[in-house]
């Protein structure tokens, strides 16, 4: 389980989460995700393309971060492979209709700062 980030200019932060966002995985990264998405950036891209599994506890962490970004006037988007089990989780929870999801990183980055 790992979480890392890079800042792209002043407005955009890219956060990469890999591994499994099940109970132990989410416990290990949720606080860091909240800290990273609290930065005053206009756009936040959370790259889940290397994530292998996403349970609802991980979805809750994404919702909390997405709300925090939105409340300070920013925008959070996700990068997910369309055929992955992670996409299945997002669809099953309905969160794909609340947080924009993109299949490619460039598309996500453009949307996050649009």
């Amino acid at each position: 389980m790992s979480i890392s980030y890079s800042d792209i200019g002043a407005d955009l932060r890219r956060i990469v989460i890999s591994g499994r966002l099940d109970i132990p995985g989410t416990d290990s990264v949720a606080a860091k995700l909240a800290e990273l998405t609290a930065a005053p950036k206009k756009g936040v891209v959370v790259d889940l393309s290397s994530l292998r599994f996403l349970a609802s506890i991980g979805v809750r962490a994404l919702i909390a971060s997405g709300k925090a970004v939105q409340q300070r006037g920013g925008k959070m988007v996700l990068v997910v492979s369309d055929s992955s089990t992670v996409m299945m989780s997002l669809r099953a929870t309905g969160i794909d209709e609340l947080i924009p999801v993109f299949g490619s990183l460039p598309d996500a980055e453009r949307a996050a700062v649009a």
Binding site: D22, I23, P24, F53, A55, A64, M88, S89, G94, E97
Partner: protein
């Protein structure tokens, strides 16, 4: 109607997060041995994680004190195959089939943290069965897929 008698695998786990991951690994390995396709495996694994997370979060002290028993079954019919997992726990009696489905939130601001697990279980399974016997909850969730 299944024409081939189902075969079963069983596992007993404790009620904590690390054990949920062990249960996931057991389920995926059992599915691989039975040649269950990837898509239904993913649906079963998601349901299993959500059912176990609900037990840990809401089952109370009895759920955490007693082992959770898991049973995986798979079988094949004329037109389709199916696989199921039965989760048996000693926690507070809870029938997820009795809980009304919640409407999806219209916006991120309205999204509530609760209820996601049940939504996943309902959307990712093809059928659910619940009983409460001898002080234990027995929840079975199953998936079907077309035979090639």
């Amino acid at each position: 109607m299944l024409s081939v008698l189902p075969r079963a695998d069983e596992l007993t786990i404790g009620a904590d997060g690390a054990e949920v991951r062990r249960a996931s690994e057991w389920l995926v390995a059992a599915c691989r041995r039975r040649e269950v396709p990837q898509a239904p495996v993913g649906r079963l694994e998601l349901c299993l994680n959500e059912v176990l997370a609900n037990i840990i979060a809401h089952g109370g002290r009895p759920a955490r004190a007693a082992p959770i028993r898991l049973r995986f079954e798979s079988g094949a019919g004329q037109d389709c195959s199916e696989a199921s997992v039965t989760v048996s726990d000693a926690g507070k009696a809870f029938n997820p089939l009795s809980v009304p489905a919640q409407a999806s939130p219209a916006s991120l601001a309205e999204a509530a943290p609760g209820g996601l697990g049940l939504r996943v279980i309902r959307r990712c399974s093809d059928w659910l069965r619940y009983s409460h016997e001898e002080g234990r909850n027995h929840l079975t969730f199953g998936v079907r897929w077309d035979r090639p």
